[in-house]
Symmetry: C2
């Protein structure tokens, strides 16, 4: 299918490469494509600059927020949380109407240093805020509780572990679950948490995720919900 | 050892029975012992009233907050989160000075119905609040991320899954880890998350815990952190 990815950081790049490899037609959107293409500083997480990554992913289109014409079957929001709403506004409501939006962004606030706090939490969530701002878009929250490399390669961590899905629209959630299965997530490890309000619960997993990353000195872990 | 348990609900009862069975000398403290002993309504979680539970646990002492004289090696806080600080104040600072306090309580706010929100979260936690109020007490947060019956019987859920520990005092955390091992928690499944600030992360697990309980229709599950 046609997939538009908003955000060109490691999450966007990693998903773009994998989904392109799976045969999808990928367009990435960013504020200024020329500036993005000229970025030669290595990303601290991947060790690769956007410029170098893009050399190996030439068939991925790169467009600007304000001039893109989104005709995708799926839009993936892979920006930093504090840029999410603005990026979507720049892409424009018309481009988002009726579309499925997979929101991977997290409301992390690093202004106080590490570990971060959340700039929205508890009685609200970033996913709900996005759903309220774009009521005609079908927002699905998922994949936000793990490292980018694990998102596209569940076998990076051995055995069973989970990916969580929240959203109001059943068909939109089905589309995301099928996409997750095509990436390699076992059906039994995909947990449908309920409507978009349940994204509060997954966004509030970030504090424990960050704390575990600090304790382990590695982001290569995931949550497995073990049942009786 | 001598253990004082604050709170006479299912968490307090379940821990009291188990720790008594393991040979510890248990005192429970409550606002009014006579009122507590006369409670004949079955607890919705355990199906047993306090009066009936107490008949089977006669060697557990029951004392009042305001008149108790705590000479315990360990104090366990098993109240509802919104009663935690008040209960500790009634027990009195003198009774808590220099003591290890295992805080199992969670800052759940059910005033808006299910699922609950947290009355303290994100940039603070109930455990930190307690540590600030009682700076000479060695507060350790643990066991707050699971059902009471699982706390005392890790085999209720099959295989490996975790219990998390947060606190500022290394010796106090060692005491709690030994207690957890004596209950049946495998050493490798006990994760030391760091100082008491890291309790923010475990208290913020409650929203996902409650959401999963709603989805599964059962509290018999736990989190396992799976590593590469």
């Amino acid at each position: 299918m046609k997939i538009t990815i908003i955000g060109t950081g490691v999450v966007g790049q990693t998903l773009a490469s994998k989904l392109n490899e799976l045969g999808h037609e990928i367009t990435m959107v960013t504020r200024n494509p020329e500036v993005t293409k000229s970025r030669t500083e290595p990303n601290p997480m991947s060790g690769v600059s956007f410029a170098d990554w893009y050399k190996d992913n030439k068939n991925i289109k790169l467009e600007a927020y304000t001039t893109c014409n989104v005709d995708a079957d799926l839009i993936i929001l892979a920006t930093k949380g504090d840029s999410s709403v603005n990026a979507l506004k720049e892409v424009g409501k018309n481009n988002l109407t009726g579309k499925v939006l997979l929101d991977i962004s997290n409301p992390l606030d690093f202004s106080g240093g590490m570990p971060p706090t959340l700039f929205i939490s508890n009685d609200d969530s970033l996913a709900e805020l996005i759903q309220r701002e774009f009521p005609l878009t079908k927002v699905v929250k998922s994949l936000n509780t793990m490292n980018a490399f694990l998102m596209v390669n569940p076998d990076l961590v051995p055995g069973d572990h989970n990916v969580l899905v929240s959203g109001n629209d059943a068909d939109a959630k089905s589309l995301i679950k099928e996409l997750l299965e095509s990436i390699g997530w076992k059906q039994k490890n995909i947990i449908d948490l309920g409507d978009i309000r349940s994204a509060r619960a997954t966004e509030q997993l970030l504090p424990i995720w960050v704390q575990l990353m600090i304790v382990f000195g590695s982001p290569e872990f995931n949550f497995h919900i073990v049942r009786k």
